[in-house]
Symmetry: C2
Subunit: 201 residues, 2 copies
Amino acid sequence: MERGDTKRALVWCGTELLTERGFQVTGIDEVLKRVGVPKGSFYHFFANKHEFGEAVIQNYVEYYARKMTRIFDDESTSPLSRLRAFVEDAKRGMLKYGYRRGCLIGNLGQELASLDDAFRVQLEAVLIAWERRVEGCLQQAIDAGELAPDSDAAAISRFFWIGWEGAVLRAKLTRNAEPLDQFAGMFFAMLAPPARRTRRR
Amino acid sequence: MERGDTKRALVWCGTELLTERGFQVTGIDEVLKRVGVPKGSFYHFFANKHEFGEAVIQNYVEYYARKMTRIFDDESTSPLSRLRAFVEDAKRGMLKYGYRRGCLIGNLGQELASLDDAFRVQLEAVLIAWERRVEGCLQQAIDAGELAPDSDAAAISRFFWIGWEGAVLRAKLTRNAEPLDQFAGMFFAMLAPPARRTRRR
């Protein structure tokens, strides 16, 4: 029980530090100091820093999977409203930390894609899983008549995630939600015309 | 003359290292070793690493300004064709380095936005200058009838840059041009319908 708590505390502390500062400069010593446990405790759970990084990514993935299930399985609103709710949830998340923390996956991708092939492959797999989730939501939007029947849910989802990670990065630079609103606003407007055309038929 | 060459070599070496690895982990010693000059030489040109970082950003900005002038002032093609040419040029640039180098501004933004306010403000200013350049191109596209007359050139340019930086990041993860093509393809398709509507009038 206590062992699980220590491991969890190390991983959450790593999530914070890796999101704000990056992987390479985050020292294990600082994680230990923040959590208040001795070095042996770290190596009891993780063989090395790389394994720790993988555990931090895995923890973030699980956290986001729960969030996405909550939002995208919410049948009380329409599919496109769920995607809008996801955007609003992410905006609240960035505001909460003063726009200093973006997306761990985007951050580590930017930092490590060139440097570490194992991380690169793991991070790309996370983004593909997130794309599948939004693709499912968009397919439901097509089935519900919110999007034109000939819409390509997979391509739109990929476009969303490519641009959304850019918007999260930009919000860290502007320190406000404007880039998130700007991207989402034009993204949803782009989806709207075919839907209107569909309704006219 | 030789002094200018040494400074230039240090700055270009810094551009490579900062784009591939980031600012925090790049040591001055490695820059010196690669360029083959003694430490005193570095401190002759730069008071500290921060000043060196600023010089690297400035050099990248000047390099990109020349590139953009060449592409966006090319009156032999239409305004939208120039933006397409910019995308193709960027694709060639990423291919050249095996998709290991993205955009220095995006990389440093992701790494330093949370950590260093001076860099954050400098990097955001660069992106705003780039947006102005593309905004001018889009305004010419509106004037030339390539885009609907009620198009918002500033908003479209901002949307382009937000998403494009996301696409460059993603291409580092996939190690191919697919995210760049995916983003640009849907971006230009999004611009096309109003243009077609305009022509019908």
